[in-house]
Amino acid sequence: MAEIKVQNLVKTFGDFTAVDNVSLTIADQEFVVLLGPSGCGKTTLLRAIAGLGMPDSGVITIGGRDVTYLPPRERQISMVFQSYAIFPHMKVYDNIAFGLKMTGVDAKETDRRVREAAELLHIENLLDRFPNKMSGGQRQRVALARGIAMQAEVILMDEPLSNLDALLRLEMRAELKRLLSNIKATTIYVTHDQIEALSMGDRIAVMQSGVIQQCDVPTKVYDMPENFFVGSFIGNPPMNFFSSQIVKDNGSVAAQVGDFKFAPHPVMAKLLDKYEGDTMTMGIRAENMETLNQPADDALRVKVLVVEPLGAQNLLTIKIGDDTVKVSTHPDLAVRADDDVWLRFPSDKIRWIDRESQKVIYPS
């Protein structure tokens, strides 16, 4: 059992607070991705869990054991580094065997585990070679094999795929997911690539400014962002945001965008009642809007600025007020730039954001 618990962790570098009072619990054998832009504190958090940078305050426990101030080697963890951190003076075999040798695993068992790990990553033929003349992908495999051979209950991965070229990254992503689901370790995986996060993680912890903004399963993080930042960070294109006025229309709550009025989802209407007369930010994903090429009463008329055919979909760029909005449409819908189209907003797909707190409002 290796549940990882981070409680109220703070880590500062001089005046800069890299990790700001973060609490996070990762269940045994869970795969959690720390996702965020550069400088959001995700790597600092991972390193604190690894023991490569002592926190200012807070507690880290692994499997119930307080490891906050233990050196890395006493934490029984394994790690894959961004730059692979392969020992350049050792053959691949010795690289993979390093951790086992250091922790006193006997030679026979070491050999067995090294070969097993090498097999899992298809690098059996590289065991006798030095890493200096190997490709990035091969080094990456060596680093992963070294991480796996330890058979630690916790594996920490610091942007393990970010130094690979795009095609290789795609291939490794699937392979890594398969691998990690087989070895049943508690995994923390740091990345700034949201596709990686969405496709691999059991849960995603989205970080910004040293704070975890949302930690949930990928679909939830994608579909129901906790706040403006998460919505704007996740997804390609990210969630669209534009202003909308909350008004009363015939006694019931309505949202008004320009001249167009529509009713919010009945569950939301109650919550939006208190915002009457205020401006709210409305968020909706590009693929959740219905695009019509003829007028409809329940649709907003907009002018298409750009059409980008992407094969499986066409991406339209339009303007609503001052906000640029991306809409994805079916390729069969014939639209050209400067055409008028009508957008319908399915009320259950709209996320309402409080302007002050930047939080998305959900019914409790």
Binding site: G51, P72, A85, K101, T103, M150
Partner: protein, 428 residues
């Protein structure tokens, strides 16, 4: 370097070339070894360039160009040896201008004196002068005497002409020895002299002992110092500054400094007396305390030259990626294991450079030794080279020492380069 090597193993004055005729262009008849005994069979003057007259050991004779009536009453103009003319009149600056022909002594000597077309007895005779003929001296020439000598070389009788500068004539004027040669040959003489010198083995031993105690100490200290610097402690730049001080001090100054510490009334004795460890000053640096001198040299050299090793090690450490070190830590290596399995192997190239540098410099250790031992009680190879050159004026043996140091340096460098080769190189 090549010249030094030649000095050490090539005796360029080993043999004298004996020429078939008394002429520099004449072919060589035979060789005769330096310092061989010879008989003088004949002599002859030869014109030499004026600058060569300055050379030592040159035997010369002067010839006059004279004008005088010969036995037949003809006016002749030619050359005669100074030994045939008595100078009667000289110009104000001492140049002879007039003289008379000497008379020949001895009953069966030719009473006439020959006049030659050139200042050379082999040239054409232009006339014969009677004794006491008055002659006008027009000019004079200085000739180097050449000797026709005979002797023995490698069991063979040899004979030929040689210029006086290479020959030493004994008082009897018919025997002599070859003073120096003008033809060289390879020789182990100087190397033998070096090896048989009474200071050679002590110098080898001290140099070796000093290397064996200095270099390992320096490397351990330098690596520790470099790790301290690398750890980025609070007063890092201050520590670095302290470590780097010896880099700025010349080695002789270091020797004098440590001499001041170890001398009879030096800092060490004062300190020991003050804390009451000893009652009377102890003499550390005397002929009877050879080992203490070695300890003093060891301390001085370690203090002086460890920081240069440290600088190299620090630069090597900085080349090691931080993530690699962290990986070692994460994968369970403790400090010693990290040092043993990761840091030291990755430092290999730096250590190799430092080791070669330090070993070569250790073979050359000199100033500190001179300062602390005066160069007698404890001597080292470089000191012996110095002694041979400046005190004993034996350039060749000094060169042999220098050459010996060079050979040792090259030899150890090659050994290191092979021994400290990285595994990749071995694999490749």
């Amino acid at each position: 370097m090549v010249q030094g090597l030649i000095l050490a193993i090539y005796d360029d004055e080993a043999n004298l070339a004996l020429l078939e005729e008394a002429d520099l262009d004449a072919p060589t008849a035979d060789l005769i070894a330096q310092s061989a005994s010879i008989d003088i069979l004949g002599r002859q003057g030869n014109l030499v360039p004026e600058e060569e007259l300055e050379e030592g050991n040159l035997l010369t004779e002067v010839w006059f160009r004279i004008e005088a009536p010969d036995v037949d009453g003809n006016q002749v103009d030619g050359w005669a040896s100074e030994s045939r003319i008595r100078v009667r009149e000289e110009a104000e600056d001492g140049t002879p201008i007039m003289g008379t022909v000497r008379r020949r002594l001895g009953s069966n000597a030719d009473p006439l004196t020959s006049v030659f077309s050139e200042p050379n007895e082999k040239s054409e005779v232009v006339g014969q002068l009677e004794a006491r003929t008055e002659v006008q001296i027009q000019d004079l020439a200085t000739l180097e005497v050449w000797f026709l000598v005979s002797g023995e070389h490698e069991g063979q009788a040899v004979e030929g002409w040689a210029p006086s500068r290479f020959i030493q004539i004994f008082e009897d004027e018919v025997t002599g020895r070859v003073d120096r040669g003008n033809t060289g040959e390879f020789t182990t003489e100087f190397i033998e002299k070096m090896v048989n010198d009474r200071f050679f083995w002590p110098a080898v031993r001290s140099t070796a002992i000093l290397m064996l105690i200095i270099i390992p100490t320096q490397f351990v200290l330098a690596i520790v110092m470099a790790l301290v610097i690398q750890a980025q402690l609070r007063f890092n730049s201050f520590i670095l500054y302290i470590f780097a001080i010896p880099l700025g001090v010349s080695d002789l100054a270091v020797g004098i400094l440590w001499f001041a510490i170890f001398t009879q009334n030096g800092l060490l004795n004062s300190f020991l007396q003050t804390v009451g460890a000893i009652d009377t000053p102890s003499a550390w640096l005397t002929a009877d305390s050879r080992n203490w001198i070695l300890v003093a040299i060891w301390l001085a050299e370690v203090w002086r030259a460890t920081s240069i090793v440290m600088v190299i090690v620090v630069s090597g450490l900085q080349a090691i990626s931080n993530e690699v070190l962290e990986a070692a830590e994460v994968f369970g290596a403790n400090l010693w294991q990290r040092l043993r399995y990761v840091i030291l192997p990755l430092l290999r190239p730096s250590l190799q450079v430092a080791l070669i540098l330090r070993t070569i410099l250790a073979f050359q250790v000199f100033a500190v030794v001179i300062a602390l031992s005066g160069g007698d009680v404890v001597t080292v190879l470089a000191n012996e080279s110095y002694r041979q050159y400046f005190e004993l004026r034996n350039t060749n043996v000094a060169a042999a020492y220098a050459f010996f140091i060079l050979i040792l340096s090259m030899f150890t460098s090659v050994i290191y380069l092979r021994a400290v080769r990285t595994q990749e190189e071995v694999a490749a």
